[in-house]
Symmetry: C2
Subunit: 276 residues, 2 copies
């Protein structure tokens, strides 16, 4: 596809959630067609066509896989539920290794009926439990702090400071953080924490915060449509030596209602105009 968009796309990764309207095959084909070199996969989309078929399509495509989304969701009131979460995280590690990425994005999970301090302890225990298997399979655990609006129901790990503390607790090259602009842009201390994350930044996601934000879950913006200075934040992360893929991850119902090819065209334009 010659769409007339030129510039350095070598670090651009399509996080497949940005084109929720596409299945796995469409997303892989779309990246190839639009000459996007990286893709980040979601497990529900893998399940849609199976792990073997996903792996085959990826091999044929030549795409690189920046991460698998997502492990985590550790907290639960009963030991059985927590054990099931550990088992599911092992499965996620296996899938990450199989599709050929070295980063499993961790959304640590919400309170799920527990007190928040208890839930945070369960997250720490859960990561400790899966860490040996992650190391064995060569998969890094990338803790993604979510926006505090999700602290109750999606991630008790609600700031980059907290994610850094958690990563440092393990002192392991296999545990680090994933920095998503949507979740951390508001933080007056984000630059301080980006510096702290230097040795263990395993991923970087871009998007935007719309004003007004009418739905914190599915109202994220495309870069340039909101108030976040993506280029400045990307510069801070790069200044610490991060030179890996830059994922565009946009949860947005309006984006999902559009033609996927139009979304990818716009994504490339906005990435060049507002990120690199």
């Amino acid at each position: 596809m010659t769409d007339g968009i030129s510039g350095d796309l070598s670090r651009l990764s399509l996080n497949q959630k940005t084109v929720e309207q596409w299945d796995m095959r469409q997303a892989i084909d779309g990246c190839v067609r639009h000459e996007i070199p990286w893709i980040a996969l979601w497990r529900d989309k893998i399940e849609g066509i199976g792990l073997d078929e996903t792996t085959r399509l990826l091999r044929d495509s030549g795409l690189k896989v920046s991460s698998l989304c997502r492990g985590g969701f550790f907290a639960a009131p009963t030991a059985d539920e927590r054990a099931a979460a550990i088992e599911d995280n092992r499965k996620a590690i296996h899938e990450a290794a199989t599709v050929g990425t070295d980063v499993l994005v961790m959304v640590n999970g919400g309170m799920n009926g527990c007190r928040i301090q208890e839930a945070r302890a369960m997250v720490r225990d859960g990561i400790a439990e899966i860490l040996p298997y992650a190391e064995e399979r060569g998969v890094k655990i990338g803790i993604e702090p979510l926006h505090p609006a999700f602290a109750a129901d999606r991630a008790v790990t609600a700031s980059l400071e907290e994610a850094n503390d958690l990563a440092e607790h393990f002192s392991s090259p296999w545990v680090g953080v994933v920095i998503d602009i949507y979740h951390v842009w508001w933080d007056a201390y984000v630059q301080r924490e980006i510096k702290r994350a230097r040795p263990h930044t395993f991923g970087f996601h871009v998007n935007d915060w719309l004003v007004p934000n009418t739905n914190v879950l599915v109202g994220r913006g495309m870069m340039g449509d909101g108030v976040v200075d993506n280029r400045e934040l990307r510069g801070w992360v790069d200044a610490e030596g991060y030179d890996g893929p830059v994922e565009v991850e946009i949860f947005n119902e309006e984006v999902w209602s559009r033609d996927g090819d139009a979304v990818l065209d716009q994504m490339k334009e906005r990435y060049l105009a507002h990120v690199v």
Copy 2:
């Protein structure tokens, strides 16, 4: 009114926003009827009946005024707009002194077309500019950090750490913080920051975070309906020596659609069951 609710209500304050359906007179009468000793006022409600009439009703009622909401909203792209904001804050200080409270709650304002770092600098400059008049009138400036979901459009001051840093910057007994559970409960470092706020905690607000939270602005919960441990947080604040009023402030469209007296009954019950 004998509503059968007994317990120590000596610190309970009705933040008037909880009964948005009531005008100033109804809110004052409601507090008297329900034997709630404190009330926190909003400026738009003062405007509804005038400052003189508000002051007269308050004097007759015997109620104590825990705070006036709100000053702030300092950031703006032009010098004229910033000067107008300063002028409005002086007016708010005058109103606070007139109604007889020593705390003006500061919602510092969003980005309003500025870069977030610039907006934060404008907030600092704005507080510096109004501080002499606040001191002259005996009104303390209580910086209320809002939930990060409001960083873009309501308060660039988005964590208690940031509010503490801002308060400490002034090293003045007239500048401190107001701690609202809804805005800070998610923060893994909230207890650390409550300790830091010890010398300058000028107010404390309770409510709850509902799951799911379908509207971050007007979907706050009544204490006991969500996931926040109000009693634990109240204990942390009190442990630092805070013994002032505890405001119940709930932005919730469903609460606003109910009979105001029923809201006050429930508020008292929940305060006794979940806060003190």
